[in-house]
Symmetry: C2
Subunit: 181 residues, 2 copies
């Protein structure tokens, strides 16, 4: 951030009085700009024992598989956001059953919130940001081609919980990937 | 938002190609600005059967009571944010036990995430944004002077769950207050 989005003056970056973190501050119009983590909401959507996966047509992780998920929008509830992403990415209608997993990604200022749900019908197809949609069971899931650790962890919990006959709630923190040597 | 925070040019507000919501767009440097909901993290912190409340020294709801809570910061996990807010607002150290309640406030683009925890000691006192700190049981809690519906709902669930001997997870959506006639 270089300029005040309110009045266009160049901003400074310092700790405001009474605060303890540096913020971008406009000394012309006295606006303080706060930057906060964003939420990504999505859904493990089941149909006849299989879960809906999407192969990404966009970066990051173009060509890899994920569950429908994306940034929560203003004016939306978390469950409504998960439903909207399922509709946008897979043209699929899902009923939300429960909040299922929360992952912190503090190194990229993201919080993942994934729900469990059931597809209302088997009518789905790739949305604009998706190359391919597919229903997968545990055995035929592309485990080595998943886009995100959050999705991988959630799906591992999902199939384990289903085997046990009881879905818990799962929370964790994803650390940045170790660099290749 | 009037000006691009990157290059200082006046922005327009329209739907970018491939999107379906209007965003602020800078045609000079091609930056698209996304605005997303913010998370408020906090904690119901217990000590010897009572919960820690803070009387607010700041707006909104100056003078009313809340549990320690505030905006999640970049680089933070949700639980770490709840601990930090407890330290900042009540100078209290808390151990987090579980994620307890999520409230959507879509009309103000906020998601409340409240944890359950235990104070590590009875050493607490008002922080800079707090007029007064107090341990309250259900009977002596200032129910008619609580600052937020999120806090009220969470505390009602908390004492109910404790009576039942089992803490669930609670999720809900808070609608804007009806206007006075």
């Amino acid at each position: 951030m270089n300029f005040c989005s309110n009045c266009g003056t160049r901003v400074s970056h310092r700790i405001p009085p009474g605060d303890n973190l540096p913020r971008h501050i406009c000394d012309a119009c006295n606006t303080i700009f706060y930057e906060n983590p964003k939420m990504i909401v999505g859904c493990v959507a089941e149909w006849e024992g299989k879960v809906l996966l999407c192969r990404r047509a966009i970066e990051p992780r173009h060509g890899l598989w994920t569950v429908p998920a994306g940034f929560l929008e203003n004016g939306e509830t978390t469950a409504a956001g998960a439903q909207r992403e399922t509709l946008e990415e897979a043209n699929a209608r899902v009923e939300i059953d429960a909040f299922y997993a929360l992952y912190n990604l503090p190194h990229i200022n993201q919080i993942y919130m994934l729900f469990r749900g059931r597809l209302l019908d088997a009518d789905f197809s790739p949305g604009a940001e998706t190359l391919e949609t597919r229903l997968c069971d545990e055995a035929d899931l592309p485990w080595d081609q998943l886009a995100f650790a959050t999705v991988r962890n959630t799906l591992i919990h999902y199939f384990n919980d289903r085997r046990k006959g009881e879905f818990g709630f799962h929370m964790g923190t994803i650390e940045p990937m170790a660099r290749a040597r």
